[in-house]
């Protein structure tokens, strides 16, 4: 469902030196699996998720979503994703009942499907009581539930969620986590990034630890426990991150490249997207 091969993202900066935010990340997420991408701030989680959701172009490497290359076939790939972050805002002057059909139409759904999906999502996520209130007047939890409904309107096979429970109360948190599980059980591939390690431990089938743009450890909980020799994910996380910084660490060495890298060529990841043309 999600295949990421040696993904690299370099940002040009105003100082003239380039910043490598993602330094060769590879992982896969299968159907009916929740994959947790964990890491400290600045590890490259958000950049990776933004590349996968088509908001950024990779400098090199490939990412395949539901069989579509995100660079070569960006719009089809985007159509297969339900994308949700703590930052994805809602239109303040529209109500959930107006907003959901809008995103349905943008995804190219027909009228009947939209009606059915809106009805289902409003019921599943308990949006009914506030479905006709403008989003600007909703609480954080209500907004995030609406946002999830927005991401799921086209019933995409892949869900990419960047800290979906940030700042939520226990009740909203519970609704959302249950919903993610339920989507997994319906065969969806879920890629999740979070800072709440307990939540990740309970929810994720596999976890990738991202640090300084690279995956330093990957596997299900028993594998990670065996690697770090610790029980709780928080301890595993701290142990692996500090190991990766020690000079004896034999895994992929984190780099801080400052030189401009070789410019990205469309040939690196297949043909250029036919609908966008080559970048100039």
């Amino acid at each position: 469902m999600i295949e990421v091969h040696d993904l690299v993202k370099v940002f040009p900066t105003a100082t003239g030196y380039d910043k490598q935010a993602v330094a060769g990340v590879s992982f896969t997420v299968g159907q009916g699996e929740i994959y947790g991408l964990l890491g400290p701030n600045g590890a490259g989680k958000t950049t990776t998720l933004r590349i996968l959701s088509g908001l950024m172009k990779p400098t090199s490497g490939r990412a395949i979503i539901n069989g579509y290359d995100v660079t070569a076939n960006g719009h089809r790939a985007k159509g297969s994703i339900g994308f949700l972050t703590a930052n994805t805002g809602l239109y303040q002057r529209l109500s959930p009942r107006e907003l959901l059909p809008y995103f349905g139409e943008l995804h190219g759904l027909d009228r009947d499907t939209i009606k059915r999906r809106v009805r289902e999502l409003i019921e599943w996520l308990d949006i009914g009581p506030f479905a006709d209130i403008r989003c600007g007047a909703l609480s954080t939890g209500q907004k995030q539930r609406t946002n999830i409904a927005r991401a799921l309107i086209a019933d995409p096979p892949v869900l990419i969620m960047d800290e979906p429970t940030l700042g939520l109360d226990v009740l909203s948190n519970r609704i959302i986590l249950d919903f993610i599980r339920r989507e997994r059980d319906h065969g969806k591939a879920v890629l999740l990034s979070t800072h709440y390690l307990d939540e990740a431990e309970a929810l994720c089938d596999r976890i990738g630890l991202l640090h300084q743009g690279r995956i330093i450890a990957e596997g299900d909980m028993p594998t990670l426990r065996a690697m770090a020799g610790r029980e709780r994910l928080t301890d595993i996380f701290l142990s692996l991150v500090s190991d990766s910084l020690s000079p004896t660490f034999v895994g992929p060495r984190p780099t801080t490249p400052v030189e401009p890298v070789e410019p990205f060529r469309p040939a690196d990841c297949g043909q250029p997207a036919s609908d966008e043309g080559p970048r100039a």
């Binding site: 900066t13 908001l55 950024m56 994308f83 410019p263 036919s274 080559p278």
Partner: protein, 733 residues
């Protein structure tokens, strides 16, 4: 879902959302419909009442002694009595013959004066508040009947910076001038009478002495023209500025505002191409710009009309509002509103926050105001470079339309140039909107959008680069052509400069420089590879026959819409100059240079760029239309555009620019060379001397056959070489 439906979905949603915003409604409805009329009417009323108050004041005038006071009172009373008598006579006269012109009683001063003798020991106080004027009167009124006429000299001291003192001076001066006129009339009457008595003749009419030359002016303007003129002074600039102002808030809200609220990320993650997102948004912005402009114009127009401002502009002459031109003006405003919607969206796409966008928008508004205000001079006419000056041309066009003095060719040039700029601005907006550096604050710097080292090598220019360069070249070529053709009567010399400035400079050097800077493949962009042999043959057939078809087309067009006499004269002059020039010069300047340079730009850079965002057919047709429009002579645009489309097709099929150059050069130069080398052949071809003369069938039919054969050959080029490395992509956005 079709592209247009998606754009419509975005448009509908954005419009609904923005109309729910109080700020939009305030800016769009409350300010123009309520505030402007109130302000305007309030200001007018306040000014009127202040004036009335001032005129109604009793002004205090100080004189040095009782005698002067008596003289001044006598003058004022005398004038008032005369005015009353005149008014009575006028009333009687009007009741007898109502059509008679009224005496301008409104001009008579009704101010009251309190004349006081200034005590000798009075302190020397400032004129203005308590005392408004000081007056000295020299000579005596009683001396008037003495020996010879006496001269009265009135010396008024006032305070220029005090409004009451100044008004008092003006009012008193009016009365004194009336008194002077009366005195003149009285004295001259006395002289005439004395002269008539002494000469024993009847006295001549006094008016022939006092007014030996009577001046009457009659305006031929109709009420409708007068109304158009009055509205044309004010409405166009309001229309233009309000379209821009009305677009500002939605443009910020739909770009930087959306980014600030985090919805841009949500939107960019949907499977909708940026072009469609931008189109939806920019149609909303231009709709709101137009609506704001329309409401403003309706409101200001109504206020002007009902408050009497129009009458004051036309000096109380009757006016008729030319409502019938409003649809045309509004239609002309459409590309203009699209232009500013696109510019504002492009500018605001740079901004990460609402505040940042506001500061970027200010220079745009100021930049638009400069040309708008510059052309409001009554002497500015819609012509020359002003025809293609953004903003300025729209203000002038709206004014000309109001005044009923526009030409359709002017409307065409203004609309085409504005549409050009709008298309380029949209292309830039699409390029900027959704850029990583713009959407995400942490995703690098704006330098990536400009600096060469951040550009990846690409085979062809983008659609936005092609449109932007065309939009820049359009006014530049127009300017170069109008300057050069106006500067010299020597057509060959003009052509020489044109070859250097326009063809070599604008059509070749600029695109090549841009291509090199942005790491675009020069060979691929300008299609410099050699074509298959059959493409050369196709070009030869087309070039040898196209002139006949073009001639026939122009002849038929001339019969439908005869060209102006000026254009005929210009063509004749050019023909005579060309006949006198050496053949090599004519061929070089009229056939070779244009063929090479125009092909490099229109079929090279432009067509390659258009092919990046459009289908084959649309790209070829658009490049052909642009080619036609760049020739600037309206009568020749259709035929040149058709030629451009054929050239574009040949170039596309051959995947090379060279056959097009041959075709183009032959088309331009074949007949000239034949005419010089073998005039009898041209005679045999039956070329008519007059514009509008048709070719004989014995020429036309073979030409048509050759042309069709050429097109078939060109069509076969692409089929025969499917694996050529220079294959043009047929992009489907």
């Amino acid at each position: 879902m079709s592209r247009s439906h998606r754009v419509w979905v975005i448009y509908r949603k954005e419009l609904l959302e923005i109309l729910r915003d109080r700020r939009t409604l305030t800016a769009m409805v409350v300010i123009p419909v309520v505030l402007y009329p109130l302000l305007m009417l309030g200001f007018l009323r306040a000014a009127e009442s202040e004036e009335a108050r001032l005129r109604g004041l009793e002004f205090v005038v100080e004189v040095p002694d009782e005698r002067a006071a008596g003289d001044l009172r006598a003058i004022i009373d005398g004038v008032r009595r005369y005015q009353d008598e005149q008014a009575d006579q006028q009333t009687a006269c009007n009741s007898e013959s109502p059509g008679h012109a009224a005496v301008p009683t409104a001009d008579w001063s009704r101010a009251r004066f309190d004349i006081r003798v200034r005590p000798e020991d009075a302190p020397d106080q400032q004129l203005g508040e308590e005392v408004h004027l000081r007056v000295r009167v020299q000579s005596q009124l009683s001396d008037r009947n003495g020996a010879g006429p006496a001269q009265l000299s009135v010396h008024i001291t006032f305070n220029e910076v005090n409004i009451k003192s100044r008004t008092a001076m003006e009012e008193l001066s009016h009365i004194l001038e009336d008194f002077r006129d009366l005195a003149v009339r009285e004295r001259v009457a006395g002289i005439i009478e004395a002269h008539a008595i002494s000469a024993g003749v009847s006295p001549i009419a006094i008016d022939t002495i006092l007014e030996p030359v009577r001046i009457e002016t009659v305006s031929v303007a109709t009420d409708r023209q007068r109304g158009g003129w009055a509205l044309g002074q004010i409405i166009p600039i309001i229309l233009v500025l309000m379209t821009i102002t009305g677009s500002v808030y939605p443009a910020i809200d739909l770009t930087a505002g959306e980014r600030e609220r985090g919805t841009l990320e949500t939107l960019m993650a949907t499977p909708v191409p940026p072009l469609q997102l931008i189109l939806g948004k920019f149609l909303v912005v231009s709709t709101l710009g137009m609506l704001t402009a329309f409401l403003n114009v309706a409101s200001v127009g109504a206020t002007m009309h009902f408050s009497g401002l129009t009458r004051s502009i036309t000096h109380s002459m009757p006016v008729e509002i030319p409502l019938s031109v409003l649809p045309l003006i509004l239609a002309c405003m459409v590309p203009f509103s699209l232009l500013f919607a696109a510019i504002l969206i492009a500018v605001c796409s740079f901004a990460r926050t609402f505040k940042e966008a506001q500061s970027y928008v200010m220079p745009v508004i100021l930049g638009a105001m400069i040309p708008a205000v510059a052309v409001t001079l009554p002497t500015a006419r819609l012509g020359g470079i002003l025809l293609v000056m953004p903003v300025g041309n729209m203000v002038l066009l709206a004014r000309e339309i109001f005044q009923g003095s526009f030409l359709w060719s002017q409307v065409a040039v203004v609309l085409i140039s504005t549409s050009f700029y709008a298309a380029a601005a949209v292309a830039v907006a699409v390029r900027l909107f959704g850029q990583e550096a713009v959407v995400f604050a942490d995703a690098g710097s704006y330098k990536t959008l400009l600096l060469r080292r951040y550009y990846r090598p690409s085979p062809r220019p983008t659609l936005s680069q092609a449109l932007l360069l065309s939009a820049l070249l359009f006014p530049a070529s127009f300017y170069v052509q109008s300057v050069l053709t106006g500067s010299s009567d020597n057509f060959i010399r003009t052509l020489g400069w044109l070859a250097i400035a326009q063809f070599a400079g604008l059509f070749v050097l600029l695109p090549v420089a841009l291509t090199a800077y942005y790491r675009i493949d020069v060979v691929e962009t300008f299609r410099l590879r050699l074509p298959p042999a059959r493409a050369w043959l196709a070009a030869l057939l087309l070039g040898c026959s196209s002139w006949a078809l073009a001639h026939q087309f122009v002849a038929l067009q001339t019969r439908l819409a005869p060209p102006s006499d000026a254009l005929r004269e210009a063509f004749k002059l050019i023909e005579s100059q060309l006949a006198a020039a050496p053949l090599w010069q004519v061929v070089l300047l009229l056939a070779v240079v244009p063929a090479v340079c125009e092909e490099l730009f229109f079929r090279g850079f432009l067509l390659s760029g258009l092919a990046q965002g459009l289908r084959k057919g649309s790209a070829i047709i658009l490049a052909g239309l642009v080619f036609g429009i760049f020739h600037f002579i309206m009568d020749r645009v259709p035929v040149t555009a058709l030629l451009g489309i054929c050239l574009g097709y040949v170039c596309w099929q051959a995947r090379s620019i060279w056959p097009g150059i041959l075709f183009h050069a032959l088309h331009n130069g074949l007949l000239m060379v034949l005419n010089a080398v073998s005039p009898e052949t041209v005679k045999w071809l039956g070329m008519p001397d007059e514009l509008g003369g048709l070719l004989p069938a014995r020429v036309l039919v073979p030409a048509l056959a050759l042309f069709a054969a050429g097109l078939c050959l060109a069509a076969s080029c692409n089929r025969r070489a499917p694996d050529s490395p220079a294959t043009l992509p047929d992009h489907h956005p």
